[in-house]
């Protein structure tokens, strides 16, 4: 029994990394602009579609490079046409606007790139690796793609960390996250900052899109992985990059373990028509966490003042 548990745990953790990748995009934008960006999922789809379709006619490297340009342009357009006119609006309004943006990008992406299932080939072998075959019957299965995803994620996080710590823009971003006014008084144009974060989020979306796309194929449904990233967010906190990573791992491992271990028990006990508890388990898990830490695992403590 231990074998499958370990295997599920590892599988879950690796899936969690993928969730974390999407959540990372959310966090970046929320941290710097206070926007709950529901279009992140659509951005992932759009980025993945771009890479997939471009890579049909050119080497992957160029495809990715062009996709980066596309995402930066997209960030610029969003900043210009959506965020700027809505500056100083309430969070819920911005949230709605990003939903609108999500619709637009979904439609636009499918118009430009098509709505079939497309491939991104990262050149990673699809067949699984098996470890400890001597210890556990059947061994421990590990998906190479997911390992690759974890690697990508690690590189991204490292890159972002460097970006935030070392570069001037990065430091500015942190300043903005802490205090909008203060940041402006230091002389950093807020619009510029927003453009940067959206562009960075777009690039994160490319990474997420490529990894997901390589795994599942690039299709409209990818945009729905955004929903999977939400419990990660509340668990990790809306503003914490480490939170997104750790949250992703917990959610990924938690829901897979729940599905595999708890699912059959629930089915037996309640005579259910199948399991599928992973659909809500992540949320419930996050909810329970929230009840104890309303600001998420790594979120800043909310101090109420009067």
């Amino acid at each position: 029994m231990l074998g499958p548990i370990i295997e599920t745990l590892i599988g879950g953790l690796l899936t969690g990394v993928l969730y974390a990748l999407v959540a990372l995009g959310f966090v970046l934008i929320f941290k710097a602009s206070g926007v709950f960006n529901f279009a992140q999922g659509a951005m992932v789809l759009f980025a993945a579609l771009s890479v997939a379709r471009l890579s049909e006619v050119m080497p992957l490297v160029f495809a990715v490079a062009i996709a980066v340009v596309i995402m930066v342009v997209l960030a610029y357009v969003i900043e210009r046409l959506v965020l700027r006119p809505l500056v100083n609006q309430e969070g819920i309004i911005l949230f709605m606007a990003t939903l609108g943006v999500a619709y637009f990008i979904d439609g636009f992406g499918q118009t430009v790139w098509g709505s079939d299932i497309y491939k991104i080939n990262l050149g990673i072998p699809k067949d699984p690796m098996f470890f400890f075959e001597g210890v556990f019957p059947g061994g421990i299965l590990i998906d190479r793609e997911e390992v690759a995803a974890a690697a990508v994620c690690a590189i991204l996080v490292a890159g972002l960390a460097i970006f935030f710590q070392v570069t001037r823009t990065g430091r500015a971003l942190r300043a903005v996250a802490d205090d909008h006014q203060a940041a402006q008084s230091v002389g950093i144009p807020l619009n510029y900052i927003w453009l940067i974060v959206w562009a960075v989020a777009g690039i994160v979306a490319i990474a997420a899109g490529m990894v997901w796309g390589s795994k599942l194929g690039v299709q409209f449904s990818i945009s729905l992985v955004a929903l999977k990233a939400l419990p990660v967010l509340i668990l990790g906190g809306f503003t914490s990059i480490p939170g997104a990573i750790v949250g992703g791992l917990i959610i990924g491992a938690g829901e897979k373990l729940a599905e595999v271990l708890l699912g059959p028990i629930l089915i037996k006990t309640f005579d259910l028509a199948g399991g599928g508890i992973e659909n809500w388990f992540a949320y419930m898990l996050a909810l329970v966490f929230l009840l104890f830490r309303p600001q998420g695992l790594f979120g800043e403590r909310i101090i109420e003042r009067i």
Binding site: D106, F108, T111, I234, G274, L291, I302
Partner: protein, 354 residues
């Protein structure tokens, strides 16, 4: 411009606090209700009933429910679809298991069950605020969706997971034709809207709004956050539950949990925000907008005679819909109801600009 308010003075508080203190508004609304009950049935055809009027009315009710929670009490929720499902399945099971139950009782039961579930899932709102709460309510959405798909009892062990209602009747009158369904829905919506309005302009409504506007100050004037928030969840869920039951019984006839999925939640949220947070009128306007807009966009190329592939039309529909939402938010972040209010204010002050 059309308003002639001079001379409409109030000699009692009851008149002063009327829902429509201005006579012209009152006439307009009575006219509208009369139109809805008496005139529309004279010429409406089946499509108008089943695809426009009934959906708009039922979803308006759901939007009112969400508006009570989000617009009036400030608690963002993405669990509307789930609560609608509770209403739908509660009604289904009551009607199934006690077939003689009066339809009104069935819908009340649907509302009450949704209310109970809503309160349960509202409890986290005491600790969690804003988007955290919104995401937390997704938990209820996914859980409920799952529960109705998996727990066989809810669907009476239907092998397909799809359930259907039998013939509907109320006090011996059949509710079968689209017109009958429409009138039934309209009556329920009118009555419940009135109830919602009364709650909102009463003590409970002030408690909600106080909690929404400044929870600390609300607490200090003696409003218990627990009570205010949970009552908002309760009332909101009641409305949503009834609308869910209506949606299932009068709109769908047969349904599966997918009818109440996350997209439904978003759809209702769109209605509330495009319509206007904190406005009952907005709930109706928003519902009409969100229901009619895709239909309209979908047919627009045909109407204009522009040949276009179906795929392109639907992609464009997505794009235009998204763009319109952004556009509306930029033009008037407070929704159609605010636009309406501004227009009304302009008309009242006409010819003055302010």
């Amino acid at each position: 411009m059309l308003y002639r308010e001079a001379g409409q003075f109030k000699t009692s508080y009851q008149a002063d606090q009327a829902i429509f203190p201005i006579a012209q508004d009152r006439w307009f609304v009575w006219g509208l209700v009369a139109f809805g009950f008496l005139v529309l049935p004279l010429f409406a055809d089946q499509y108008l009933y089943t695809e426009v009027l009934i959906p708009v009315l039922i979803l308006s009710l759901a939007a009112i429910g969400l508006n009570i929670l989000t617009g009036y009490c400030g608690q963002l929720s993405l669990g509307t679809g789930g609560f609608m499902a509770v209403g739908a399945y509660a009604a289904y099971n009551l009607a199934l298991r006690l077939p003689e139950t009066n339809l009104i009782v069935v819908f009340l039961f649907a509302g009450l069950m949704a209310m109970a579930v809503g309160v349960l899932f509202g409890i986290p709102s005491l600790r969690i605020k804003g988007f955290y709460l919104a995401v937390a309510t997704l938990a209820s959405q996914f859980f409920l969706e799952w529960a109705f798909a998996r727990v066989k009892w809810f669907t009476n062990y239907a092998p397909s997971g799809s359930v259907a209602v039998g013939k509907l009747e109320l006090f011996g009158m059949p509710i079968q034709t689209p017109m009958e369904k429409y009138l039934f829905v309209l009556a329920i919506v009118v009555v419940m809207t009135l109830a919602a309005k009364n709650l909102i302009r009463g003590r409970l409504g002030r408690m909600w709004m106080a909690t929404r506007d400044m929870d600390i100050a609300a607490e200090i004037i003696g409003i218990r956050p627990l009570y205010a928030k949970l009552s908002a969840f309760a009332v909101s869920s009641f409305f949503i539950g009834v609308s869910g039951a209506l949606w299932a019984f009068l709109r769908l006839g047969s349904w599966e949990p997918l009818a109440f999925d996350i997209n439904r939640s978003f759809q209702i949220l769109f209605m509330v925000i495009i319509g206007g947070l904190g406005s009952l009128l907005g709930s109706f306007l928003g519902a009409a907008f969100i229901v009619l807009m895709p239909i309209f966009l979908n047919q627009l190329p045909g109407i204009l005679g522009i040949p276009m592939s179906t795929a392109l039309i639907s992609h464009l529909e997505f794009m235009v819909f998204g763009a319109m939402i952004v556009f509306f938010l930029i033009v008037e972040p407070h929704g159609l109801a605010r636009l309406w209010a501004i227009a009304k204010e302009k008309l009242r002050l006409w010819p003055f600009p302010y």
